[in-house]
Amino acid sequence: MSDLLLFRNNADFTKTLNFKMPASRYGITDGSGLERCFMSKVEFRNVNKSFGDNQVLTNFELSVDDGEFLVLLGPSGCGKTTALRILAGLENVSSGSVHIGDREVTSEEPKDRDIAMVFQSYALYPHMTVRKNVEFPLRNAGVSKDEIKSRVDQALQTVGLSDLGDRKPGQLSGGQRQRVALARAIVRRPKVFLMDEPLSNLDATLRQQTRADIAALQRTLGTTTLYVTHDQVEAMTMGTRIAVMYQGKLQQVGAPTDLYHRPANAFVASFLGNPGMNLIRGSVQGGAVRVAGSVVSTTNLADRSDVTIGVRAEDLRIGDAGFACEVVIVEDLGSEVHVVCQSAESDRIVIRQLSATTRPTVGQTVHLAIDGATHLFDAMTGERCEG
């Protein structure tokens, strides 16, 4: 079991890195004894990308700070992987520019951008051993044989694969392959790490562990990282900041908790969190937020006949007062119960309850009250209403 895991905890991981990597090899030391890779700021400046008539990225502006771990989050087809591939040099921009550090790299070849990429499929060369896979970028860079051996040893040790150097990728488990891909990325000491949904092929347990390991690795190396995922749990737990994308446009960029607690629009609200924020049609009259005539909250916004009310599943209570809706599904997750309701104001309202609470039955009409924060969004544009 343990060989499936990179490290038992982050302390072990940091200790291993500390012990195995001499500071001089990784360029920068921060005084703490931890060695760090070179790092660089990344910028997309007004990037547009279209494939024929299909506009994939529209006026895409994003800046990733030195050493930052930024997660590009969005549903399938939102353009996040295209943005990553543009940064890698695997796709050309239709217009706009891309910068790494103080250099514009828009028309540079991938090999000249000083980046390393971990692919969703890992993209390990099946005919090469693990060691050959990891040393491949160093050979291409003309690094000396002794240096290659030493750096590959370190990289394999870092990801806990020292004993498997002579195996071929086909002889490894999914988790081990993922670690080889990581070793191949870190061995280069690039300015930027690019990761394209690297955990999507792992099972849930391994994904959870590897999530923590990658975040710890990034913190220790301090390399600027752009990480693409559609999994909002990965985004919330790994990123220093999250950039949410939808239909080729950036929706909001910020710290995970900021996005969670103060979403810029209805899409971000519904996409972040598990379950996502409930969106219910309502109105504002005289400072009172109403759903189907029932007052559910107060606001200092001016009167509006049509507004979208966002409320988290944990902030809804089933009781005697509030607006009525019908229970359609009751999901018991063990530690909690998700009660899914339907009403004229929303097709899907999820209420999170502790298991001990008396649970309603399917078909039952219940009344919901809001016991927490409410977020108001413009019913037409979906943008947050600031009061």
Partner: protein
Amino acid sequence: MAKRTTSLPTAGVGVFRTKRDRRIGLALTLPSLALFLLFTYYPFFKNFQLALYRAAPFPTLPNKFVGPSQFFSIFSDAQFWDSVRSTVIFVGLVVPIGVFLGLLMAVAAHQRLKGIRVYRTIFSSTVVSSAAVAAVVFSTLLSPVSGYLPSIGIHAPDITSSSTWAMPMVAIVSAWQFVGLAFIILTAGLQSLPDDLLEASRVDGASSWTRFWRIILPLLSPTVFFTLIVGVIYGLQSFGQIDIMIGTQNSTFTHTNVLIYAIYRFIHVSADPGMAASYSIALFFITLVVTLIQFRILEKRVHYGQ
């Protein structure tokens, strides 16, 4: 016990659930089975029977049963070894040239360039031209009297009459034809390579040269291996170009008398089906052994991915 109502087929014999299914299955395979029996298996076994008889000196006399001695006699026949040598030279020229050029063109046509489909069509077109057309076109081009070269002022010797150049010329024409097939097979192989591996190698700093030798060629090796086997079989069975470009009347035919052509001559010139059958059996075993050797030796250098 519940009655089984599912109609989904299961593995093995269960595919045919009823006698009716079985009858339909047999009926559907019957046409191809009949064709194989008539045109492949019957001639194959008939050939072994023919090799047991020596041709009579006059067509009206019956052939004489001589058993396997006629087959074994060819190994002490200098003409047989000349034919084997010619065949080895012919295949040795056709296959490397065809596979190398096919690979070169497949890699070139794999680029995402404007108008590349036109080049793909041109590159693969040789496969649809018949051996006769290819031979006539090349003969016309190279003819010292009426060819294209004299018309533009180049007066080269008649290479089909040259004992030195006849074989390379015929091999080049055959290779030209094989290039189209090699191109199609290798292009299909290239298109099946995972894009992310090639992209990963670009990100890993590999030059085009490194990418080809260290990534593309090893990943393509099963396809190259298959192309080599197809090429060897094609080379061993090439006949039309030799017959049209050189022919039996040409003094240089002894230099281009590959096994398949020698077999043809035994039938149509010497009227000796027994010897033709013996040569055919020898060619069959040579093809079999060469293919087995290819599998034993080359397959070790082939990477079958995961």
